[in-house]
């Protein structure tokens, strides 16, 4: 468990910067117009960040993780349900860790 004060500061900081992104777009548009390239860049950020988070685990740890990632992606594609995909992914990785050991 982390220091409660540090955790609270972190959450309040996250809340502040997130509100700045929500209010800032409306406010800034009164001053400037973003170029199509900047729009495209902002659109691509969430996907790229998520990919950067998972890549070392999925592609550079062990075979069990890579296979379970594939199973998760297939289930997510078919069901469009994050909860179901997560359960299948977690189940697959725990089975494969037993088998591949």
């Amino acid at each position: 468990m982390h220091n409660d004060t540090l955790a609270l500061i972190t959450i309040l900081g996250m809340a502040l910067v997130t509100y700045i992104t929500r209010a800032g777009g409306f406010w800034l548009m009164g001053l400037v117009t973003p170029s199509p390239r900047i729009e495209a860049w902002l659109r691509q950020i969430p996907g790229a960040v998520l990919m950067a988070i998972i890549a070392p685990t999925v592609l550079a740890s062990s075979f069990a993780e890579t296979l379970a990632a594939l199973a998760t992606a297939l289930v997510a594609l078919r069901t469009k349900n994050v909860l179901v995909a997560m359960l299948i992914g977690v189940g697959t990785v725990s089975l494969l860790r037993l088998v591949l050991k």
Binding site: G30, Q44, P46, L83, M86
Partner: protein, 247 residues
């Protein structure tokens, strides 16, 4: 989760005639009703967030504060994955949250033609509750001729209630899960991110961006300490994406 499509909204904005905007309870209720299907889906994601918040050792008060004050799914999951680092990387988490949520800038910008006719207090309250799903519903409602500004707030509040309540339920349920690694729960974050990524796939404009993000992240995770690979991979990937995405 849906992606901001500003070029489309801009075309719609050009057609937006400068007629009066209202801001009524019935507009808010309409927005809330239209948001029910996505609120159900947000509820299941919020359950997952609550369970993982528990695994990351967030107390129920901390999880509740994060979901109600930040109210932005992807960035909250990213924060949880950094929460395991000791000591807590405060600056890294706040900076990463900002970067992940920068897409809101676009969404807010796209509201300008309609919302510039509302009072600042209505605008700056409504945008606190603006998430990808409620924004997408509201812009299509405005584009179809709807002129009640409270529509966005109503949809946002519906999603807010779903998100915060499911966080609490998930965090409580998560308490009953012992020894998470044994059940493969250490993989849960990765699985959630994969599922979110599948929903973000919009075709080949993502391919090079994601490939570069993956390669840079793997290299950075290998050679650099801490969690720098997340920001480096994210910035490199999205920069490449900006080049392949722009028309």
């Amino acid at each position: 989760m849906r992606r901001a499509n500003l070029s489309e909204s801009q075309n719609q904005n050009k057609n937006a005639v400068s007629e009066k905007m209202t801001f009524t309870l019935s507009g808010a209720l309409l927005g809330a009703r239209r948001a029910i299907p996505v609120a159900i889906s947000a509820f299941t994601v919020g359950l997952v967030f609550g369970i993982l918040a528990r695994q990351a050792k967030l107390s129920i008060v901390q999880a509740l504060l994060m979901s109600s004050l930040v109210f932005a799914g992807a960035s909250q999951f990213v924060a949880l994955s950094l929460w395991t680092v000791v000591p807590l990387p405060v600056i890294t988490i706040i900076l990463t949250t900002f970067v992940v949520n920068m897409r809101h800038l676009l969404m807010g910008a796209a509201l300008r033609p309609w919302f510039s006719r509302l009072s600042p207090s209505k605008v700056y309250t409504s945008v606190f509750f603006m998430v990808d799903e409620s924004w997408a519903l509201a812009t299509s409602y405005f584009a179809a001729g709807g002129r009640d500004g409270a529509f966005l707030l109503g949809g946002g509040l519906m999603l807010f209630v779903a998100w915060v309540s499911s966080t609490v339920v998930g965090q409580t349920v998560g308490a009953s899960i012992q020894n998470p690694a044994r059940w493969g729960l250490d993989f849960a974050f990765t699985a959630v991110f994969i599922a979110l990524l599948v929903g973000m796939w919009k075709g080949k404009s993502n391919f090079f961006a994601w490939a570069v993000a993956a390669i840079v992240a793997i290299a950075a995770a290998h050679w650099l300490p801490g969690k720098w690979y997340i920001l480096l991979g994210g910035i490199a990937g999205s920069a490449v994406g900006a080049m392949t995405d722009a028309q």
